[in-house]
């Protein structure tokens, strides 16, 4: 293949993919801003109730987990630090929330980036959530977590 053809194919290929991704990312970011503006997440943290209860965490864990799932790990991490500073979470709880979120976070943005390039995203998302719950459950139940 000639060098010009290689440059051409790389340019077209990369720009096309970025356009595809932009079509997903821009509407998604608008949705996320609406969520933040109207504090919608704070209103639906009960969704996390079955998970936090199953893992033996207090309800205080709901918001960091939901925020990490929807907005990403840095956002969730910030809320963990806040709650911890106010003494509302134990070390054990902080550890389990971290474990949950490193396995499964920013489920819309990251997942859709791969959907844009052709991955089957539904089974992946499902698998991540299930794995996060199972691993956290096992660690919470059988591993002694201490400071």
């Amino acid at each position: 293949m000639e060098i010009g053809e290689i440059i051409n194919s790389a340019l077209v290929g990369s720009l096309k993919s970025i356009a595809q991704i932009a079509l997903i990312v821009i509407p998604l970011m608008i949705c996320i801003e609406i969520f933040k503006e109207f504090k919608l997440l704070e209103k639906v943290t009960v969704i996390a109730d079955p998970v936090t209860r199953c893992l033996g965490l207090s309800r205080e864990a709901n918001l960091p987990i939901m925020a990490g799932l929807v907005f990403g790990i840095s956002y969730g991490g910030g809320l963990i630090i806040n709650s911890a500073r106010e003494g509302k979470l134990t070390y054990r709880e902080i550890y389990i929330i971290n474990l949950f979120l490193v396995i499964c976070h920013s489920v819309f943005e990251d997942t859709l980036l791969f959907a844009a390039i052709g991955a089957k995203w539904v089974p992946i998302l499902f698998a991540r959530i299930v794995l996060a719950v199972i691993i956290c459950y096992l660690v919470a139940k059988f591993v002694l977590i201490q400071d």
Partner: protein, 138 residues
């Protein structure tokens, strides 16, 4: 206020797209050029036994490593020129979603005050387990 919110979301989306483009385009170029040199084949042959475990070709180790150490954007830039099948893209997407941006995200966990060694190890191991799982069931 609603207009402001929409504008902010739109701008965030553009900013993310720009960040992504800044990484994806150069990585895409580098991998495309590499694929026309023997170097990619050398790496590919070397990594192919490990990658076989998850049903991926040896050269898919490049986006995996880029994703682990840098971020998802770099990984996407490297996945695209490899012309993987839908099944292979799904496998590598699952692995990368499980383990990516490890230095940066681990730093965030560390800031919350927990010990992080197990967290990192768990992500890498789970990435391979998940990859092998999708290879089997798809």
């Amino acid at each position: 206020m609603m207009i402001e919110t929409l504008k902010r979301g739109f701008n965030n989306g553009l900013a993310t797209t720009y960040q992504l483009a800044r990484v994806v385009i150069p990585v895409y170029f580098i991998i495309t050029f590499l694929s026309h040199t023997p170097l990619l084949h050398v790496v590919s042959d070397f990594m192919s036994p490990l990658m076989k475990l998850v049903g991926l070709p040896g050269e898919a180790s490049l986006p995996l490593v880029l994703g682990f150490f840098l971020n998802i954007y770099a990984a996407i830039g490297a996945v695209l020129p490899l012309n993987l099948s839908i099944k292979e893209i799904t496998i590598i997407a699952a692995m990368l979603l499980m383990a990516h941006s490890l230095p940066m995200e681990t730093a965030i966990s560390k800031m919350t005050g927990v010990k992080v060694s197990f967290l990192v190890l768990a992500r890498i191991i789970l990435a391979f387990i998940l990859g092998a799982f999708f290879n089997l069931v798809m």
